[in-house]
C-alpha cells in the first residue's frame, strides 16, 4: 500500500519542484533592482484575508491611493512607483515570509505594512537583517525603536498618555482596565498603572480576554461592581462589538460610565453600532472630521476612489502619510538606497491630513498631535481636546519620571 503511492510522490514532487523553479526563474529575470528602469517597486504588505483583513484592507487602500497621487504628480525621482501588494493573511509568520519575498525576490525599495504589533515583531528581524525599510502605520505600545522601521502611527506618549491626562483633567480618578490578551494592551496597561501611581489615580481592576472573545457578561459584571469613574479600553477588533453591546445592556451609559478606547476608529463604529458607543471617548491623532484643507482633499479623494460611503480613520491616514513621507525622503536623498533615505528622512516635515507631521531622525517616530474625540450619534468622531502642537515622540517614555523602570 505504501509502496504503491511512491510513484505519485515522485511525479508530484518533480512537478512541484519544476513549478517552484519556474516561479523562481520568472521572478529573478523580472526582479530587477528596485530603482532601475522607469519604475520603483514598493511593497504593500497587509492582511487581505483572515481576521485582520477588516482593518488592514482599508490601510492598503489609502497607501495605494497615496502611491497613485505621487505617480499622478510625476512619481519620485522621475520614476513611477509600482506597488507590489502581498497578503499577510492575519498570520505573523506569513508576514515574515512575505516581507522576505518582497525584499529578496521583488527587491522593493521599501515596504509599507503591518497592523498588529505581532506582525511588526515578526517582520522586524527580516528588515533589520536584510537592511531594508518598513513603514508601520498603526499606533502601538512603544518600547521599540528599530533602525529599519519608521513608525507613522502614535507611540504611547502621543495617544495613551494624553488620554490619561484628559481623564485626569475631567476628574476621573478610579479607572478599570479592559483589554484583549496580547502585547499592546498588556504593555499599555503597564504604562497606565505607572502613570496612575504617580498621578493619584487608582486602578480598580485589570482584565484581559482572549482575542476574539465574545462573552463579556462576567467582565461587565466585574466592572459594574467595581464602580469605576471610567474604563480604559484596549480591546481589539470584534471583541469591542461584544463588549459595548453587553456593557450597554447592563445599564451603563456614556455619561454614567465613560469608556476611553484606543483601538476604535470610524471604521469600527459602524460594526459596533452607533447606539452602543455614542458619547464614548476615543484617543487618536486624526479623525475624519479633523479640520484643514489637506484633510478635506484627502477625504474627498478617498471617497471618490473607494466609494462615497467610505470613512477615513487614523491608521488609514498614517498609512497614507507613510507613503508621502518616504517619497519625500527619497526625493531629498536623490536615491532609493536605504541608508541614504534614512539619512535624508530625519527632520522631514509635511503638511498631512492630521496636520504637520515631522520625522524624528533619531528614533524614527513622528511628531504628532494628540486628539481626544467623542463618538457622535451619526458615527463620526468629534474632537473635544487636542495637544495644541505636535508632541515629540518618546517611545521609551524617557522624559516621564513616572515611567522610569518600565523598560
Amino acid at each position: 500500500m505504501l509502496r504503491k503511492s511512491l510513484p505519485v510522490l515522485a511525479s508530484l514532487a518533480a512537478a512541484t519542484l519544476l513549478s517552484l523553479a519556474a516561479c523562481g526563474d520568472s521572478e529573478s529575470s523580472g526582479g530587477t533592482a528596485a530603482a532601475s528602469g522607469n519604475t520603483i517597486k514598493v511593497g504593500v504588505l497587509h492582511s487581505l484575508s483572515g481576521t485582520m483583513a477588516i482593518s488592514e484592507v482599508t490601510v492598503k487602500n489609502s497607501e495605494l491611493m497615496a502611491i497613485d497621487e505621487i505617480n499622478a504628480a510625476g512619481g519620485v525621482l522621475g520614476k513611477k512607483l509600482q506597488p507590489v501588494v502581498e497578503d499577510g493573511a492575519s498570520d505573523w509568520p506569513t508576514f515574515a515570509e512575505k516581507a522576505q519575498k518582497l525584499i529578496r525576490k521583488d527587491k522593493v525599495a521599501t515596504v509599507f505594512g503591518g497592523w498588529t504589533s505581532a506582525s511588526r515583531k515578526a517582520m522586524l528581524p527580516v528588515f533589520e537583517r536584510n537592511k531594508a525599510l518598513l513603514w508601520y502605520p498603526v499606533q502601538y505600545e512603544g518600547l521599540e525603536s528599530s533602525p529599519y522601521i519608521y513608525y507613522t502611527g502614535a507611540t504611547t506618549n502621543q495617544q495613551i498618555v494624553p488620554a490619561l491626562d484628559y481623564l485626569k483633567e475631567k476628574g476621573k480618578k478610579k479607572i478599570f482596565l479592559v483589554g484583549s490578551d496580547y502585547v499592546f494592551p498588556r504593555t499599555a496597561n503597564k504604562e497606565i498603572k505607572a502613570y496612575a501611581k504617580a498621578n493619584g489615580m487608582t486602578i480598580l481592576g485589570e482584565e484581559y480576554t482572549p482575542l476574539g472573545a465574545t462573552e463579556y457578561s462576567t467582565l461587565v459584571n466585574k466592572v459594574m461592581q467595581a464602580k469605576p469613574d471610567a474604563v480604559f479600553n484596549t480591546l481589539n477588533g470584534d471583541s469591542n462589538v461584544a463588549f459595548f453591546k453587553q456593557l450597554k445592556s447592563a445599564g451603563a451609559t456614556a455619561s454614567s460610565l465613560p469608556v476611553m478606547s484606543v483601538s476604535i476608529a470610524e471604521e469600527e463604529v459602524k460594526g459596533i453600532g452607533v447606539d452602543n458607543v455614542a458619547g464614548q471617548l476615543v484617543a487618536w491623532n486624526y479623525y475624519m472630521t479633523t479640520p484643514g484643507k489637506t484633510n478635506e482633499t484627502f477625504v474627498k479623494a478617498f471617497r471618490a476612489k473607494y466609494g462615497a460611503d467610505k470613512v477615513t480613520s487614523d491608521p488609514m491616514e498614517a498609512g497614507y502619510n507613510a507613503v508621502k513621507l518616504w517619497a519625500a525622503a527619497v526625493q531629498k536623498a536623490g536615491t532609493t538606497e536605504v541608508e541614504a533615505v534614512k539619512k535624508a528622512a530625519g527632520g522631514i516635515s509635511l503638511d498631512l491630513p492630521e496636520g504637520k507631521v515631522t520625522i524624528d531622525g533619531a528614533n524614527h517616530h513622528m511628531y504628532k498631535t494628540a486628539r481626544i474625540g467623542v463618538i457622535q450619534p451619526d458615527g463620526t468622531i468629534k474632537e473635544v481636546w487636542d495637544s495644541g502642537k505636535p508632541i515629540a515622540p518618546d517611545p521609551y517614555l524617557k522624559s516621564y519620571p513616572w515611567a522610569a523602570g518600565l523598560s
Binding site: 484581559y208 465574545t214 467582565l219 466585574k222 461584544a242 471604521e267
Partner: protein, 292 residues
C-alpha cells in the same frame, strides 16, 4: 457570597447562549452522526438574515427574523444534506472534514456579499434595560436569549415526543434499517432532521446579534464551544446538552469571575476531560453481537 449570587444570572446567560448554539448541533450530530462544522456559518446566515430584514422592519428585525432565519438556515442545511452529507452517514469524520470545507466557502461568500467589516442590527427598543437580580443586572437581551433557549429546547422535546414526525425521527435514530423496513422514508426523515437542526442554528444566529459582533467570522467564535457542549452532553441527547450547557455556563462564569477569561477557557476544557474520565459511558454504546 454576594459575588457568588451576582454571577448566577450571568452564568445562566452564558449557559443560554451555549444551549442555543448547541441545540441544532445536538440534533444533527447526536441524532444523525453528522458533525456539521458549517453549523457556525448557518448561525452567521441567521444573523445576516436579521441584518437584511432590518431594511423593512426597522428595529423589530430580531423578532421578524426568527422564523425567516429558521427557514433560510434550514434551507441551506437542506441543500447541504441533499448535495453532500447524505452520502456520508455513519462516517462522522468525513462529514466533519467535508463541512469544514463548506464553512470556509460560506465565510468567504459572506465576506464577498456583505463585506469584511461587521454590520449592525439594532436591537428592538423593548429590549433596552434589564432587571436587577442578586446585585447584578440581567439585561432584557439576555432574558430574551434565556427564554428563546428554553422555548427552543421545549419545542424540540415536544416535537420528538409528541408528534408523529418526531417519533419517526426517533425510530430512524434507534434503528435505521428497521425503520426503513416498517415503511418510514428514512431519506425524508434525514432531510427534515437536518432542516430543523440547521434552522435552529439560524435562530441562534439571530439571537447572537443582540450580544456580539455580526460578521463573516461569527460562526468561528461559537463553534468550538458548541461542540464541547454536545460532547459533554453525550450522544446529543437533548437533556444532556441542556445540562452540559448549564454546567459549562456556570463554570465559565465563576471561573472567569475568580481568575480571568483566558484561564476560564482552559479550566472549561480541563473540566470536560475530567468529566469524561468519570462518565465516559454516556458517550458510546457497545454492541456485543456485532462489534464495530
Amino acid at each position: 457570597m454576594e459575588a457568588l449570587l451576582s454571577q448566577l444570572p450571568i452564568g445562566l446567560s452564558i449557559a443560554a447562549v451555549l444551549m442555543l448554539v448547541a441545540l441544532g448541533l445536538t440534533f444533527t450530530f447526536g441524532q444523525m452522526g453528522v458533525i456539521n462544522m458549517a453549523h457556525g456559518e448557518f448561525m452567521m446566515a441567521g444573523a445576516y438574515t436579521a441584518y437584511v430584514l432590518q431594511d423593512w422592519t426597522g428595529r423589530e428585525a430580531v423578532l421578524a427574523a426568527l422564523p425567516v432565519a429558521f427557514a433560510v438556515a434550514g434551507a441551506m442545511g437542506l441543500v447541504l444534506e441533499r448535495a453532500a452529507v447524505r452520502r456520508f452517514y455513519g462516517r462522522p469524520l468525513d462529514t466533519l472534514l467535508l463541512t469544514w470545507g463548506v464553512s470556509l466557502v460560506l465565510q468567504q461568500l459572506a465576506r464577498d456579499i456583505f463585506g469584511a467589516p461587521n454590520v449592525q442590527v439594532r436591537a428592538p427598543g423593548w429590549l433596552d434595560g434589564g432587571v436587577r437580580m442578586f446585585g447584578s443586572q440581567l439585561p432584557y437581551t439576555r432574558l430574551f436569549i434565556i427564554v428563546l433557549a428554553a422555548v427552543s429546547a421545549l419545542a424540540i422535546w415536544a416535537y420528538q415526543n409528541r408528534t408523529r414526525q418526531g417519533r419517526r425521527m426517533r425510530s430512524v435514530m434507534q434503528n435505521r434499517q428497521l425503520a426503513a423496513c416498517s415503511g418510514i422514508d428514512t431519506g425524508r426523515v434525514d432531510q427534515l432532521t437536518f432542516f430543523i437542526g440547521s434552522g435552529l442554528a439560524g435562530v441562534a444566529g439571530v439571537a447572537l446579534t443582540l450580544i456580539g459582533p455580526i460578521g463573516p467570522n461569527l460562526g468561528t467564535y461559537y463553534i468550538v464551544d458548541a461542540f464541547l457542549v454536545v460532547v459533554a452532553g453525550g450522544l446529543g441527547r437533548l437533556r444532556g446538552a441542556v445540562i452540559a450547557a448549564l454546567a459549562l455556563g456556570l463554570l465559565d462564569s465563576y471561573a472567569e469571575f475568580w481568575t480571568d477569561a483566558s484561564l476560564a477557557k482552559v479550566i472549561g476544557f480541563a473540566a470536560i476531560v475530567v468529566f469524561l474520565q468519570a462518565r465516559p459511558q454516556g458517550l458510546f454504546v457497545l454492541r456485543s453481537r456485532a462489534l464495530t
